[in-house]
Every structure is written in C-alpha cells, then in structure tokens.
C-alpha cells in the first residue's frame, strides 16, 4: 500500500505528459548546443540557396536577348567576370565559411557532446541492446529494468552501451545525439537532463524485423524521487498478495515464463527476455509498443506475435483463469 502511494504521484504526472522525440526541443545542454548549431547552419543554407535561385531567375530574366554573349556568332562575352565569380564565390567564400563551421563544430561544440571520461560522473548506467528491447542495469546496485531508464535531473550520468546481438543505436534526441550499440565493444554517452519529465527514444540503426518497435522512455526524476525509485528497484520482487496471484506465481515458476525471464527473489533466473522483477512499475510493454495495463498484459502474453510480429516471445498457451492468474501475479510486481 505504501508503495502505491510512492508511485501514485509519478503515475499522475506521466498521464499528462508529451510523447515526442524532437531534436529541436532540447532538454539538455548537449541537445541545446546541437540545436543551436543546426539553426545557424540552416540560416546559412537558406541564404546560399537564395543566392543560387537569384542567379537562376536572373538568367531567366535576361533570356532570349539577341546578340549578347553568343560565342557562336563571334560576340564573345567577357571572360574575366566569370573567373572572378567562380574563384570568389566558388572557391574563396566556401573555403572560409566551411573552415569556420569545421572549427566551431568539430573543435568546440564536440567537447560538449563527446563521451564523458570514465571518472567524470558519479552515476553510471549500462544499456544492453537486444532484438528488440533495451536492458538497463545500474552500476553498483542490483537494479535491473527494461526499456524505461530513470535518471536524476541536473546530474551528469555516464551511459555505457553495448549490444548483445546486432548493432543498435541509442537515441533520445531531446537529451543528446545518438550512439551506436556495437557487439564486443562498449561505447559511452552522457545524459544530463535540465528538467524533470519523460523523454521518448528509439533505436536508430536498422536491427531487423521489429526495428520499428524498439522504443524506450527516459524518465528524468527529481533527485529524491530517483533515489527512492532506485532503492525500490534494487529490492527483490514483492510476494504475491491474493490467492489468484499466488497461483499465477506458481504457474510462472513452473511454466514456460521462467525459461526466459528473471524475477528476483524467485526461482526464475533466466536472462533471455526482460527482467520482470518490477514489471508492474513500468508504463509500457514490449519496448514502448503498448501501454502496460491489465488487458494489454494479458493480450501480450497470449498473442505477442500478432502485436509485435517476429519478436522473441512466442504466443503462450494460457487462456481464461490461468491467464488471469499470471496477469494478477505480474500486475502485483510493483
């Protein structure tokens, strides 16, 4: 019951929250400098395009004049102006502009978006990519979750990413640029959100059939709320309360569920699928494919293949009361 009270405000807050991944609505220092860089470059781009369009229109306006600049009639147009234009506008100008952009972006801006040094942050979160979901571990605790990353606000966090199978790419545009998840090597990126909220992210590197349904949420909590969340997440699963839930727990442990999933504090310790120790505390299922409520959970267990075709979880042969039992049990894992 107390746990519910802890979670209630969070749930209320989330219900009224935007779900976009807009790189031009920066919510962190990193995304902010990148967005600024873009606005400046776009301004320059429009000017450049305008210049060329002006020249094209000018040529149209002066078209079909007789006796001007016809090499073929011996009326040679002046050669020099052309050379001045090409050398000035075609070589000198772009060299200056491009070198400036290079220096600004790749010598200075990049300092903010680079991976943080190992010791630079106090909190380190590991993200491991799977087809097609995200495993999240908190260095130094037993907390393991999936597809929903919690971080404290205004606190630099070092995110260490790697892949368990194919190449994925971690991307939460409002918090930072993207970083690939490579098999065999660990890449790092910094998350340092300005304000509390929920930020949507998505796998950006094509990773197979369900690449489209490999989303994630980053929850930026107040420091206190984050500490509570982490402490709670590190605890083993809650014991089932109702009789129905207890029946579900038995079926989970003895049935096919336990062959893929872990629930801390039970005999289920397999790591093929997401860790379900606190699954009821998450807002979505199947990597932000469907909301996490009773019907969806039941539907997911029974027909995951029709909701997310090709995903690793088979349609489970559970119907009626037996399905209700498992759902009741999982819904209890707050």
């Amino acid at each position: 019951m107390r746990r519910l009270l802890v979670l209630a405000p969070a749930v209320l807050f989330l219900s009224g929250c935007r779900r976009a991944q807009n790189s031009l609505e920066p919510r962190s220092h990193q995304s902010h400098v990148i967005a600024n860089l873009f606005w400046w470059m776009m301004g320059g781009a429009w000017i450049g395009l305008a210049l060329v369009v002006f020249l094209l229109l000018l040529s149209r306006a002066r078209a079909n004049r007789r006796g001007f600049g016809r090499d073929t009639e011996g009326l040679k147009p002046a050669e020099r102006p052309g050379w001045y234009v090409v050398v000035g506008a075609g070589i000198a100008m772009p060299i200056v502009l491009l070198s400036t952009l290079f220096v600004i972006a790749d010598l200075f801006v990049i300092r903010t978006t680079e991976a943080p040094a190992k010791s630079a942050t106090r909190l380190t979160v590991q993200v491991i990519g799977h087809q097609w979901w995200w495993e999240v571990r908190y260095r130094g605790t037993d907390a393991v979750t999936a597809n929903e990353i919690h971080i404290p606000v205004r606190t630099p966090v070092r995110l260490e990413v790697r892949s368990d199978d194919v190449i994925h790419s971690f991307w939460v545009p409002e918090l930072n640029r993207k970083i690939d998840l490579e098999p065999g090597t660990t890449n790092a990126i910094e998350l340092d959100a300005d304000r509390v909220g929920r930020y949507r992210g998505q796998c950006a590197e094509f990773c197979g059939l369900q690449h489209a349904h490999m989303g994630m949420y980053v929850f930026v909590d107040s420091r206190a709320a984050f500490r509570r969340w982490l402490a709670h997440e590190a605890k083993p699963a809650a014991a089932p309360e109702s009789a129905l839930a207890r029946r579900g727990a038995r079926m989970f442990a003895t049935g096919s569920c336990a062959t893929c999933h872990t629930i801390h504090g039970t005999s289920a310790t397999s790591n093929v699928g997401p860790d379900l120790t606190h699954v009821a505390g998450r807002t979505t299922l199947a990597a932000v494919t469907i909301d996490n409520d009773e019907q969806n959970l039941a539907a997911w267990i029974a027909h995951s293949q029709s909701i997310k075709p090709g995903n690793e979880m088979p349609d489970i042969e559970l119907r009626g009361a037996r399905l209700d039992a498992v759902v009741a049990y999982l819904r209890g894992l707050k």
Binding site: N22, I34, M41, G82, L101, F102, D106, E205, G310
Partner: protein, 636 residues
Amino acid sequence: MAVATPPTPTAGERVDRLELMWQSRPGVLGWLTTTDHKKIGLLYFWATLVFFAAGGVEALLIRTQLSQPNEKLVSPNTYDQLFTMHGITMIFFFIIPMSTGAFGNYLIPLMIGARDMAFPRMNALSFWLFAASGIFIYTSLFLGIAPNAGWFNYVPLANRQFDTGRNIDFYSLGIIFNSISSTLTAGQFIVTIFKSRAPGMSLNRMPLFCFAYLAASLGLLFALPVLSADTILLFLDRNVGTHFFDVAHGGSALLWQHLFWFFGHPEVYILIVPAMGIATSIIPAFTQRKMVAFPLVAIAELLVVFIGFGVWAHHMFATGMPTISLVFFAAATAMVVIPSTIQVFAWCWSMVTGTARFRTPLLFIAGFIFMFVTGGLTGIMFLAIPFDQQVTDTYFVIAHFHYIIFGAAVFPLFGGMYYWFPKVTGKLYYELPGQISFWILFVGTNLLFFPMHIVGLLGMPRRVYTYSDGLGWTAYNLAETIGGYVTLVGILLLLGNLAASYFRGAPAGPDPWHGPTLEWATSSPPPDYDFPVIPKVTSAYPNWDPADRQEDRRKLAEGVLVLDEGHEQVATSPVDGLFAEIVEMPHESPWPIILALTVSLVFTMLVLQKFGVAAVMAVLCVLALLGWHSKEPQES
C-alpha cells in the same frame, strides 16, 4: 588513255563502302551479337528503364505503407526486402547503368569523334553481364527471399547467425556479379577516352562531358573492387565459416562498415558526376556560350570523385570511433564541397551571361541545380560531427540523399533524354508537354522529399516499417506519399511524351540545337560508323568551328581519313591526342553473350552452394574466353 589508273572513288562511293563495312546483322540476332556502342547504349537504356520501374514500384509501396501510422499494407519482412531492393535497384541497376551504360556508351564515341569504343566486344559483355546480374538478384525477390538488411547491409545483422536464409547470399553474389559489369564499363570508358579521341583532341580540348565520365569511370574502377572484397569476405563468413566480422572469434563488425563506405561514398559521387557532365553539355547548347572557367570545371569534376575517396567514415560518426579519427573525414567532407561550388557558380554564370533558351532540357538542368544545391547544403551540415550524430539514420539523411540522388542525379538524366532525343531518334520531342512534365516532376519531387527533413528532425528513424500516431510525423508522411504519386505522374508524362514524339515527332535534322560537341556534326540518328570522316578537332566545342567541319567535307571527297579500306578506327596518344596508329576493329560476335551466360551459371551454382559444379562452370567460362580470342583482327 588512263585505263591503267582506276578512277578515284567519289564521296558517295566511299560512304557506301563504309556502310557495307560497318552495317550490323539485321533482326534479333543482330541485337544479341552487336558490338555497336549505339545499339549497346540503347539496350542499356531499355533494360535500366525496366529496373527503374521496379525500383519505383518498390518506392511507392514503401511510401504507401508509411502514408499513415500503423498501416498494414505489407508485412515487416516484406517491407525490409522492399527498401533493400529499392536501394540496390536504384543505385546499381538504374542510375549507374543508365548514366554510364546508356548515356555514356551512346555519346562518348560520338563526342570524341570515334567510330566505336576501344573494346567493342567487352562493351557487349558488360551489358549482358549487367542484364544477367539484374535477373539474378530479382529472382530472389520473386522467390520472397530478397536481400533484407538494407543496401549497406551491416553485419552482424547480415551474417549467418541473424539472417539464416539465402537473402544475403543473393546480395553478396549479386553485387559482385554487377560489379564485374560496371568495372568493364568503367575500364572501357577510360581506355576509350584516353586512346580513341580524334587526332588533335588534346586533354585541354576534350568536352567536359568526357571529363565527367572519366571521373566517374575512375571512381568505379577504384571503388568497386573494395566492395567486391567486402562482399567476398561476407560470403566466406556465411558459407565457408571464416570469422572476418565475427567479434566472438577476433573479427570486427566495424570492418564491414569501413570497407563498405570506402566504396559507398565515392559511389554517391559517381552517381552525381555523370549528371554534372550532362549539365555541362546542355548549358552551352542552350546558352550558345562556352562554359565559364572551363579548366576549373574540368578539374572540379575529377576532384569531386578523388576527394570523395577520403570521406567515407562520415557515415560512421555514431559508431563510437575516437574524435581524433573522425576529424580527418570531417575535414575532407568540408573541402569536397569546393569542387561542387566551383561548378554551381560556373553553370549559373554561364546561364546569366549567355542567352539562355529555357527549353525543356535547360529547365531540367535549372531544376537540377536547385535540387543539387539544396541537397548539398544539407550535406555540408554533416561535417559538423555532433549534428551528424543527431540526424544520422533519420529521415533527415533520407531527404538529403534523395535530393542528391533523385533531384540531382536523375533530373539531368531526364533533361538528357530530351536533349539527345533528336540525335538518337531523328525526331523532335513535343515542347509543351515536356515543360509540363518538368514542372510536375519538380513540384512532386520537392513535396516528396522536403518534408523528410522536418520529420527527421522530429525524430523519425529511417527503415521503420511503421510508426505510432501522436509523434507529429503523420501529416508530413502523408504529404510525402502524395508527392510520390505526383512524381509518378510526371515520369509517366515524360516517357509518354518521348514515346509519342518517337512515332509522330517532326524530323529533327542533324543539329536542332546548334550544339557545341561532335555528336551534332553527324546525321541523326548517327550512321553505324558514326562519322564518314574522322573529324578535325581544334577546340573543346568542335561543332562551333565551321572551318573544321568544312574541311571534313572536303576530306571525304578526297578520301582522307575516311578509313574505308577496312573496319578501322584511329588510336591516339592519351594526353595530347597525337595520331598513334590505325587499328582494325572487331566485328559483332556471339562470344560476349555466351561468356555472360557461363558466368551467370557460375553465380547460380554459388548461390545454391554447389561449389563443385560452380568450378566446372568456371571451366566453361575459360573455354568461352578461348573461343572469344580464337579469331584475330587481321583475320577478319
């Protein structure tokens, strides 16, 4: 009585003899065995149009699937095959063969005053290999096992462990198969441009079109082997059990990306450079003005490909390579822009200071400049590593390279179809429908691709088969889909116009545009021997030198440089176009198509993993080659 001295033949008699010497077999057999660069160019044209249609249908299916959230038109599996085949088709089976195979084959010998390519039979071989490789890879689509890991096909996703079917074997073998054909074409062009130019056409008097095609060919020649190497390694990993890309056994997943993009980035410049060449031939014709800053434009066309070999890792900025490695590619990415700006301002200033006639071809070139500059300006943004890392693998990149690859690489192909239509068919096209087709295409293309910038910045990743509502992407995607169908209408109108003109168009005469280069100095359509006299060349715009053309006519009467005693062509020195020798050219031959057949047998056996049989088929290839070389020129 001068009975002993035979009368010198008249011009007419000499032409008759050329006709006899160069005429090709009639009927289907003639097309199957032809070595005439014009016929081969036309074969390429029709074949690539078919693949263009296929790639277009794939594109429209993709757009329809994405027209609204959670659309269920195609399954995820089908969608993956569709976007992979769309990429492969448009790059390897439409743009490259259309610009090099069709335009290059038909026009290069005409522009340099030659009678055929340097290696006519190799030219035929490259076409038949191209056709076979296309059939080979499309078989997989009809069997429902087409490549499905994207055209850049990253491992480990594309390796046996995660892609157990034949799909990727079709990819790797099909790509190698197609590369052989492209390499032959590229080598063909390089040798022809260096060795077969009309005497006197030194490099500083060579049309810009040829500089562009030289650049593209050199690019293909040096880029394709690296792709072949990469796909060979992948094939070995998948079928022989090697571990090049297998991290668990000391391999590297990034190795694939390095090798692929070392090919892949030059490739996109190879796509665009022929378009630049077409622009540099259309602009002088429709402004009646020589190109501004000719030497700079010439070197720019070569530089864009050369520097293009040094930028590949800007496709890999998000892979976690160290900053100090990335900056090398960012710097090259910055400066590879300069050759393009040189050309853009040279084109624009030629149009401003010439007397521009905005007929359909020039309209398409103006559209090309607009699209090229737009795509180029978004391309510049990728040299800013942090911004690139923000938008890479999103629809922003899709927008960028479709502006370049469709807007900039294909628009000039359309313009070129109109421009050279009178030369190829001897008929004039209908002007008004032509201009309408341009405006429909221009509007449709921008409606199709511009919103992709926005939707990319709004966070839509590429290669998602669907997306959920409420992310702010829906309206833009719908607009793009509509734009797609508008573009389709424009293309159909264009092709319909050309078809109608072919049957009903007014006769064009040899030179309807008062064009600058040599193809306009011969009749339309050109005779089998291209030129009755090997033309005299004293500038890069030979058709604007009336005195030289006069001299050609006089030479024909006197029988100088007519070469009517044999099936002959001149060969010149590569740099200054000194007259080197007169060589006998091979006649049409059945061996190219036979060799192509045996090669396709080899690849079929490889994809079926019947390696023993494949070896036997390889022996057949050798036998075909022996047959090919059994007859020497002096015996013909």
